[in-house]
């Protein structure tokens, strides 16, 4: 029996009215749909400036020259084609207690890819764990969505998470700035705050989507437990009571707040998603409110 598709057709039809949105102005080739503050060969008039040698003579405002006998150059707003990149976490922590988180991440990533394909945007998808995985370019219109689904279907979780290594690989490979969507649980024992800050400092606009399962935030267990880390395999024996659970949840929330702060303070956005939330509510609710998609 063939596996059920990640996303059904009714849901995809709803996604068609959305567009991936970024806030920053990036330089790039003409052909995008988000306007940039950079002047260039666009259609919309932006401003006038004095003519300098080497400027394009076709952009000189000859009417102003005849009236004022000064050369002014007309500037136009460009809508550049900005690179959109997506990093999806495939470390073992994404399927620690169940496959819910990873399944949810795949569905969310596939939804965003479909939104991009409908607008003829290109998205570069890369799984990451201990480092960057193989790249998959998604583009060419909605009829190229089937390979994307196949690609997400082939992804598997394994290994540890290393944001440092991932960011190092990413920056060394991609010099052009653009929108970077990171879908992960951000549960790296070494911490991912500095790595994310480094990405933001490099000029990328971050859209951080943190996915957690209920057990990640509200552990249901009490009593004596022997907890084992899904990635490192390290174990700890604990006596868990309600106080400990409350402290745990508070620590988790503090971490999520820190991630939000990194994203927002660098002009990016952050969306926290529990796997209990419906995917449609997340995309049309949280993501739209965060202007990740419009």
């Amino acid at each position: 029996m063939a596996p059920a598709p990640l996303l059904d057709r009714q849901f995809l039809e709803k996604l068609e009215r959305l567009t991936i949105h970024w806030e920053k102005s990036f330089s790039g080739l003409v052909g995008g749909h988000n306007s940039s503050r950079f002047a260039g060969g666009g259609q919309e008039f932006l401003d006038h400036r004095h003519f300098h040698h080497g400027d394009d003579l076709r952009a000189i405002n000859w009417r102003a020259y005849m009236r004022l006998e000064k050369l002014f150059l007309k500037m136009f707003q460009i809508e550049p084609r900005v690179p959109v990149r997506m990093l999806i976490d495939t470390s073992a922590s994404m399927s620690a207690t169940s496959d819910q988180k990873f399944e949810y991440a795949r569905k969310l990533a596939a939804s965003l890819c479909y939104v991009a394909l409908v607008r003829h945007d290109s998205i570069s998808i890369q799984p990451f764990g201990e480092g960057l995985g193989d790249r998959f370019i998604c583009g060419g219109g909605r009829h190229r969505f089937s390979p994307v689904m196949d690609y997400f279907g082939r992804l598997e979780t394994r290994g540890r998470t290393s944001f440092y290594q991932t960011v190092r690989d990413f920056i060394s490979n991609y010099a052009q700035r653009g929108l970077l969507v990171v879908i992960s649980d951000f549960l790296d024992d070494e911490g991912c705050e500095k790595a994310l800050q480094y990405l933001a400092d490099f000029g990328h606009e971050l859209l951080l989507i943190q996915i957690w399962s209920e057990e990640d935030r509200l552990p249901p267990w009490t009593g004596e437990l022997e907890l084992r880390d899904a990635e490192s395999g390290s174990q700890v024996k604990l006596q868990i009571d309600d106080v400990a659970r409350e402290k745990y949840t508070a620590a988790f929330d503090r971490y999520a707040a820190a991630l939000e702060k990194i994203a927002v303070s660098n002009g990016g956005r952050y969306v926290g998603v529990s796997t209990t939330m419906a995917l449609e509510d997340v995309i049309f609710g949280s993501l739209v409110r965060a202007r990740g998609v419009v």
């Binding site: 503050r37 922590s93 649980d185 549960l187 009490t222 084992r228 990635e231 402290k247 745990y248 949840t249």
Partner: protein, 651 residues
């Protein structure tokens, strides 16, 4: 203090094994659980101290103690712990009250009341003599032993059951009743008391012999004085005379149960009118049979009555319904009736009318039509016998005509050819028939069948020659062939009936030949089948209530009118070691206090407390943690300023 249900060793073994299981399950349940998590960093952040190592084996000793104590209390409840002395436990008695047919006889001491009333009074007197704590089970005993109550401490219930007892129709089976009492005491009694028999003790000779070696230490007999002088009907048998079918031969057996010889008059009445009487001189303890003959074809009640006055009047009279003597109306269409007349008129069950073929009509008021060498314009609508039908007029196709042939074989394996064995019969001319697969072949020549029967509705027999014109005319096979044919066509009329009036209980019927059980039917008056057993030629069945039972086997029907009560002829004498009479009233002794209800409640309460405070309910049903209201909906961070700028730029 003592255990009522278990011995101390049994209790200790049970407690030990259950405790071991409880401790093992407890340790298993409290063992540390392993859980894989996405990260450990927040647990470390939560500053939760790890478990002190080495870990204690028993984490919640109070819970384990509570469980063990509760289990112990429940086991004590099962063992039925009692406070007091074991000798203070009340007895459980079995009171066997005789309800045989004989208990309907008049009492010797008080002729105005029956033995049953006297036995009830003695049973009540026995009840009054018992201490308050003792329990009694009342068992009604006739042919069967039927418990009327459980072991009951409520005296009113037992006395109501005694009052509701009445004489049955069968004789007492005391051996069965005593065995039942012994077993029920072993199985259900807290402390076995006495097995008390109240009744006349009239049993059969066979049972009396079997009870002679009875040894029961706790048996008490409370005999009822009855009169021995009684004469009664034992059995009535009726059958049709073999020479004159409208004559009933009647046999009546009368027994003198008393100790003195008696002369009694036996009268026979049919429809209320006397049809015969005989005086019988009966020595003490003897049985005689009187024979009568009564001629009648109609149905009606036949009554046998002993004109005497004795202690037990119920067995002095018996009524049996006589069935009607049916005949089969036969119409013979023949141009030569003299050839068939002797065969039909010799049979008393047949009423034959002979007519010329020209008088034929298809619609007949007869049960059977015989067509002698005659082709009717339309076939008869009733059963028919076709004798040598002309070519083209046979209901069964004709294969060919043959002359001067010998009858090759009889098919005596079916009922139509039963008893037909004549050989060397020569036929001057015969019609060979083309029998269908469902047809029954009766006789054949070498060329094929010449006598064929066709079952169905109507039934039909075709004879391919005239038996009155061939050499068969002088053979015994000819009337036998007609008798078989008539019995096959109208089995109900030719059924041989015997009527037997007897007593209810076990009935033994002797069959004439060995039959398969599937060929025998034993039915009650309402059509319900009675179970029976068959040994050789003797059939046994049991009927506990008066009524009519029909036994149908082949062409014979035995009708049992079980209208007479079963009276036993012997009197049981209790063994020498048995106690007799009503015991003196015994005072109520101090009774042991039963603690099991309280122990069971305490045990259950202990387990409930453990479950609430230490069970999974208490350990795993964690309290919900307060969550920031906007957190679950997702963190959303964005800069309004930039959004405003973007919107302005687009406009």
């Amino acid at each position: 203090m003592f255990f009522f249900n278990l011995t101390f060793v049994q209790f200790a073994a049970l407690l030990g094994s259950v405790s071991t299981v409880v401790v093992a399950l407890y340790l298993l349940d409290r063992s540390r659980r392993k859980q894989t998590v996405a990260t450990l960093r927040f647990w470390v952040t939560a500053e939760q101290p790890t478990v002190v190592s080495p870990r204690k084996k028993i984490q919640q000793p109070l819970s384990l103690l509570l469980q063990l104590v509760s289990i112990c209390l429940l086991l004590l409840a099962i063992a039925q712990l009692r406070l007091g002395s074991q000798s203070a436990t009340p007895f459980d008695h079995v009171l066997i009250l005789e309800t045989s047919a004989w208990m309907g006889a008049r009492s010797a001491a008080r002729p105005t009341q029956t033995l049953m009333a006297e036995a009830q009074a003695r049973a009540r007197a026995f009840m009054k003599s018992l201490p308050n704590g003792d329990r009694v089970m009342l068992v009604r005993a006739d042919g069967l032993a039927t418990p009327a109550t459980v072991f009951e401490s409520n005296r009113d219930k037992v006395e109501d059951a005694i009052e509701g007892s009445s004489p049955g129709a069968t004789a007492l089976n005391l051996e069965l009743a005593l065995e039942f009492g012994r077993q029920i005491q072993q199985l259900s009694a807290r402390r076995a008391g006495e097995i008390v028999f109240v009744g006349s003790g009239r049993v059969s000779e066979r049972e009396n012999t079997a009870l002679a070696g009875l040894a029961m230490s706790n048996l008490r007999a409370v005999p009822i004085a009855d009169t021995a002088e009684n004469t009664g009907l034992r059995k009535i048998g009726l059958r049709r005379s073999t020479t004159a079918p409208d004559v009933w031969e009647i046999f009546v057996s009368v027994r003198n149960y008393g100790l003195k010889p008696r002369t009694v008059n036996l009268a026979l009445l049919f429809g209320g009118a006397p049809v015969g009487t005989q005086a019988l001189a009966l020595p003490a303890g003897s049985e005689q049979e009187a024979t009568f003959q009564h001629r009648t074809r109609v149905a009606g009640p036949l009554e046998a009555r002993l004109l005497t006055r004795d202690a037990y009047s119920i067995d002095d009279r018996a009524v049996i319904e006589l069935p009607e003597q049916k005949t089969l109306p036969v119409v013979v269409y023949s141009s030569d009736p003299q050839l068939l007349r002797p065969m039909l008129e010799a049979n008393p069950h047949v009423r034959a009318v002979f007519r010329a073929p020209s008088e034929y009509t298809a619609k007949q008021d007869a049960g059977l039509v015989i067509l002698d060498q005659f082709r009717p314009p339309s076939p008869p609508v009733v059963d028919s016998i076709w004798i040598d039908p002309p070519a083209g007029g046979s209901p069964i196709p004709i294969r060919k005509q043959v002359n001067n042939v010998r009858l090759a074989r009889w098919h005596s394996e079916n009922s139509l050819g039963e008893g037909l064995r004549s050989k060397d019969i020569s036929l001057e001319s015969a019609t060979v028939l083309e029998a269908a697969p469902s047809d029954i072949k009766i006789a054949e020549v070498e060329a094929g069948p010449v006598i064929v029967a066709r079952p169905g509705k109507p039934k039909m027999v075709v004879i391919g020659f005239h038996p009155g014109r061939s050499s068969m005319r002088y053979e015994l096979s000819t009337p036998l062939l007609f008798a078989n044919t008539l019995r096959w066509m109208a089995p109900d009329i030719f059924l041989r009936r015997e009527l037997i009036g007897g007593a209810v209980g076990t009935v033994n019927a002797t069959l004439e030949s060995e039959l398969k059980p599937s060929d025998i039917r034993v039915q009650q008056q309402d059509g319900r089948a009675l179970p029976f057993t068959l040994r050789n030629r003797t059939l046994h069945f049991f009927s506990g209530a008066p009524g009519v039972v029909r036994v149908t086997a082949a062409d014979r029907e035995l009708v049992y009118s079980l209208v007479l009560p079963e009276v036993a002829e012997s009197r049981w004498e209790p063994p020498a070691g048995a106690k007799r009479g009503i015991p003196p009233t015994r005072p109520s002794s101090a009774t042991a206090i039963d603690l099991w209800q309280m122990l069971a409640c305490l045990g259950a309460l202990g387990l409930l407390i453990d479950w609430i405070f230490y069970g999974r309910l208490g350990r795993t049903a964690a309290r919900p943690i307060s969550i920031r209201p906007n957190f679950a909906a997702g963190f959303v961070g964005r800069t309004r300023r930039k959004f405003s700028f973007a919107a302005r730029s687009r406009s």
